[in-house]
Chain length 207, copies 2
């Protein structure tokens, strides 16, 4: 049993701390990111975490941004490989509604509230929302160009789609039962909004 933690490169240690904070956020929420909590996970004194992260609020904001940006990028990359806009939008909905990202959803929801008292986090939230919106807007605009979508207001529609997804995911966080066919109901709603042919967004052939 070693009393003192092994001495490491500042870069290494900093990475460890960020990683620990990320894990804590995903498992227990952003508000569980505390100096002592992170320190314990790394196996280090609390003072060391404070030494590397001069400000907890900023650490939280940074972790939030890292987690969410990774997801955005991942999905964006996935969409790039899909040829047609309707399929792309359908995949977007499907991917975001598959309940495999509920931990990230929980972080979004918590950030909305925490941003009220953490200005750095609030800024990160706005930034990441914009990033998401840009991705969705790109898909919608692609559909307009190809003539498969018909809407005059791609930016607003993109925001709307995002809001719907967030709301439905937040709902699933608390109450996952009672709702069947979440994906196809949403697909139908979005079809109505972007002016697509009914069923156009279903990547799998209609049953």
């Amino acid at each position: 049993m070693q009393k003192r933690a092994a001495r490491k490169t500042p870069a290494e240690r900093a990475a460890e701390i960020v990683q620990a904070a990320r894990e804590i956020a995903l498992e227990q929420g952003l508000s569980a990111i505390t100096l002592r909590n992170v320190a314990a996970r790394v196996g280090v004194a609390s003072g060391l975490v404070a030494h590397y992260e001069p400000n907890v609020d900023k650490l939280v904001a940074g972790i939030f941004a890292a987690i969410v940006a990774a997801e955005t990028e991942e999905v964006a990359n996935l969409l790039e490989q899909i040829p047609t806009p309707p399929e792309r939008l359908g995949t977007l909905l499907e991917t975001l509604m598959d309940n495999s990202r509920l931990d990230v959803t929980a972080i979004w929801v918590e950030a909305w509230t925490l941003g009220r008292r953490n200005e750095a986090l609030a800024a990160s939230v706005r930034e990441q929302m914009d990033a998401w919106q840009a991705v969705v807007q790109g898909v919608v605009e692609g559909g307009i160009k190809s003539g498969e979508f018909e809407t005059s207001d791609a930016p607003s529609v993109a925001w709307q789609i995002l809001g719907m997804i967030d709301g439905l995911n937040a709902q699933a966080l608390v109450r996952w039962d009672g709702v069947s066919d979440r994906g196809s109901h949403l697909a139908r709603a979005v079809e109505g909004m972007v002016g697509a042919v009914r069923g156009a967004l279903l990547s799998r052939p209609t049953a």
Copy 2:
């Protein structure tokens, strides 16, 4: 300047405390409901609040339920006075999206996160979600009966509509700009979902 708070009936004092907690929740959020905070607002010692509310977690859960239930009831009553299901659903969307209830939305969002560590609150959240869902489901079913809506799954559609509204409102909490015509975009989406004629949900004549 009176040192000691005037002696009051337990019922009176209890009502004061609940009222103070409600105001704090709406102004600063559920997590601002603390013994000392509530006590200060009422103008009594912190111990007295603890005396009337043996458990802060339950107080928070109760305040949440009171605030949200009042809103549900208010909207339900409003809808009762509207004759046709499409108009009723349109009014529902309009009412919930008019940004006059953002304080209540903030409480919903916070409750979703806080429910993670407050079991009583989590139970209240589920309860109040069910109440909302019942209201929406009633409207949808009315439209099915009248032949103006066409969907085979009223319960799921109701959940879906709720989720969308919540998500869009939560979004408005953080970022109110950049989105125009939130109401009409949503109306179009919901029309697609309930199988209504396009424009059927707009209470005002289409421009």
